[in-house]
Amino acid sequence: MAETTLSSPGIRTLAPLERPIQRAWRSLVKRRGAMVGLGLITAFILLAVLAPLVAPYDPIKTSWAFVRKAPSAAHWFGTDDLGRDVLARVIYGARASLLAGAISVVIALSIGVPIGMIAGYRGGVIDALISRITDAMLACPFLILAIALAAFLGPSLGNAMIAIGISATPIFVRLTRGEVLSVKVEEYVEAARSVGDTDLQIAVRHILPNIMPALLVQATLSVAAAIIAEAALSFLGLGQQPPAPSWGSMLNAAQRFLTNAPWMAIWPGLAIFLVVLSLNLLGDGLRDALDPQQEE
């Protein structure tokens, strides 16, 4: 929709890249919400990386004597239906969720951005074709696309990432295309062209840096959406394979024990909520910080 930033041509020049980044960072640091988000994410990333050191138990070690035990001093988050420690599984589950979020967005970016740039830069028939396909994909429900792709590729965490990445691609195609359209008429692009830069050079050197802020914001928000999507796929049995934990598959198993062992559902759900919340906080902060109009 009509959300293209109306920056007046000429103001943006080929300023060194460090300055806007530094400026944005300073602006970001001032935003409390964004900092809370960044802090939480860092904490979750640390948890995921240091899982073997932090987790109190082996996440896949079953214990027949401790089946569905409520939270206690020994098991802070309780145990699950096979006697595994829920806290350990939540901690290890962070690996699956964060990885899924990050990698699927990287996939979406690496397919979506080049295609979007081609569409925006070349225009004409190629643009029309790409735009119509993008429209078609956006018209199909995201989760259905992801489910179908995940089912096609076969159930595994890696395949779920690919499925989510592909399903999220059209958003980046559309965004990149729009941004390129608004950037390519700018003077510095014209200037580069007149100097004889190739299309690829122009794209990489001049256009990409300028559409970076918008992509970065969208990517942050998409990671949040991808984490939810991974949980949804795992919830439907198309993601992480047992016994390895993922928050979605933990919720899936928990559904049967809502009455008897509600803690099985509460913790992984809360974990998803917190990670997604912090990504959204960070994304919002980034958007504000990178938006030149917001500069006061």
Binding site: G83, P155, G237, Q241, P242, A253, R256, N260
Partner: protein
């Protein structure tokens, strides 16, 4: 402010009236199903849950009692000729279909012929032994067989024995399932896909004096917790497939009652013998399969996943079944022996196994317990949760080494064994080929005497347990929970919910 209060009051009223049970002039029994049934045409139907719904609307020639004896329903009696190739069936007089058409020998012949010849009929394999049907007199038919087939009458206690109105079936063609017209206690009213199936009492039912409830509504609710919550809140009167782990809950609720029976089917793991492309140790040596078996503690599995409510087993019928072979009891877990067997077979642990598990929280839990137990004996069971649709295809293609499998069970033991173990049979996914076993399976079809049949199955059991194409794990308990307002409910081992004689206070 006043307006706000009014709004709150209205909202509260809305919530409260809708939650309380609404008084109704006629009695309605609302049944919560675990899945949405498939097509309601006895010829085309193929799901377990569909059979539950048929119990309301389509009577069969025969039925079973709680001891698995065959009792007459739309038939009165049957007689098999000395050579076993002719079965004469006397029909019940005065029976009407829901559209008022009479049920007679012509109609019975029509129904069986339809099962036999209708394009896409799933009953055809069940009735494959039938060559043709003769009308002897208006209330007698004769099934002429190609060869003796002892499970035939048992087949007629299920969908193959369901009688449909010839007039309605001819008119509707392959759309009959959208509006089935049979001769059961309840008449089809409407179906909203994935939401409800409604039946009302059939006034001219042959056994109408024993039908007390006016309306039956089936509602598919996939999630077991939600199904139970609905039963507790009074939104449903009866639910099937209660989770074993929820049994305590049901028992603790003074308004609810639980009816149970051990299922006819079994739960187990098919081990790929003949079609394993990777030629893993499991397929190459019976010793390795034995080792896997010995590594599993079935009782502990039952305790962990099902609170000990199910029945561990090691054969294709449950240990309380008349055809269970007591000579081959369940073996206790023996990890040392399992390790020794692996050594004997010359394989070095860990033995990696591609373990295909159809999606489903309970199945996945069982698989993980098996995985964890087998690991101690030196197996690395790599679980691959697979969508049901995909698992069928891959099972057929042999793309697995172990495959978690569930069979809803048939009344005759033939239905639990033949298609899974006979050479080239459609569900012999293990591709187990054993001439002796094949002979036992074939011979058991020829004789009707139970002692003789049991002796034949004993041979099969011995071979099966030695070779282990299927590793049987346990038998589920059929768990039906219902409100105590419902009187007269009795659970049969086939899991169906029979409605005759039920009263709702």
């Amino acid at each position: 402010m006043l307006r706000k209060n009014w709004c709150l009051a209205a909202l509260a009223a809305v919530l409260m009236t809708s939650c309380g049970t609404l008084a109704q002039a006629q009695t309605t029994l609302r049944i919560g199903l675990a899945e949405d049934p498939d097509v309601l045409d006895p010829t085309m139907a193929r799901t377990y849950v569909g059979r539950i719904v048929f119990a309301a609307t389509c009577d069969k020639l025969f039925d079973i009692d709680d001891k698995l004896n065959i009792v007459p329903q739309l038939a009165l009696s049957h007689e098999t000729s000395a050579d076993g190739k002719e079965v004469t069936i006397k029909l019940r007089p005065g029976v009407k279909f829901h559209d008022g058409e009479p049920f007679d020998a012509e109609a019975a012949k029509f129904s069986i012929d339809r099962h036999l010849t209708f394009p896409g009929s799933f009953r055809k394999p069940e009735l494959a032994s039938v060559d043709h049907v003769d009308v002897v007199d208006p209330l007698t038919i004769k099934l002429v067989l190609k060869a003796p087939f002892s499970p035939l009458i048992a087949q007629l206690t299920d969908r193959a024995g369901m009688m449909v109105s010839p007039k309605a079936a001819k008119e509707a063609g392959d759309k009959f399932g959208l509006r089935p017209v049979c001769a059961g206690p309840y008449k089809f009213v409407e179906r909203v896909q994935q939401d409800r199936i409604v039946f009302e009492k059939f006034a001219d039912y042959w056994n109408k004096d024993n039908v007390f409830i006016d309306k039956i509504v089936y509602q598919p609710i996939v999630d077991a917790t939600v199904r139970l919550a609905n039963l507790k809140s009074g939104g449903l009167d009866l639910i099937e497939r209660v989770l074993a782990t929820d049994i305590k809950d049901v028992r603790a609720d003074s308004k609810l009652a639980l009816s149970t029976a051990i299922e006819l089917g079994y739960q187990g793991i098919t081990l790929n013998i003949g079609k394993d492309k990777a030629k893993g140790p499991l397929s190459q040596s019976a010793k390795v399969r034995q080792a896997l078996d010995l590594s599993i503690d079935r009782e502990a599995l039952n305790q962990v996943v099902f609170n000990g409510e199910f029945m561990p087993g090691n054969q294709w019928v449950n240990p309380s079944h008349p055809y269970y072979q007591k000579a081959f009891p369940m073996r206790a877990r023996d990890v040392e022996k399992a390790k020794a067997l692996l050594k004997e077979a010359g394989v070095t642990p860990p033995v990696a196994v591609d373990f295909m598990v159809p999606k489903g929280a309970e199945t996945e839990a069982v698989a993980q317990v098996v995985q964890s137990m087998a690991a101690e004996a030196g197996f690395d069971m790599k679980i691959r949760v697979t969508e049901f649709a995909t698992s069928l295809k891959q099972a057929e293609a042999g793309d697995y080494q172990a495959y978690m499998l569930s069979w809803s069970g048939r009344i005759d033991p033939d239905g639990n064994s033949y298609v899974f173990m006979k050479k080239n049979a459609p569900q012999n996914y293990s591709v187990w080929e054993n001439a002796e076993a094949d002979k036992a399976l074939d011979d058991a079809r020829l004789v009707t005497d139970m002692a003789q049949r049991k002796a034949l199955y004993e041979k099969l059991a011995k071979l099966e347990i030695e070779e282990e194409p299927i590793l049987y794990l346990y038998h589920r308990r059929i768990l039906i929970a219902h409100t105590k307002k419902l009187e007269g409910y009795k659970q049969m081992p086939d899991g169906l919910v029979r409605l005759i004689g039920l009263k709702l206070k």
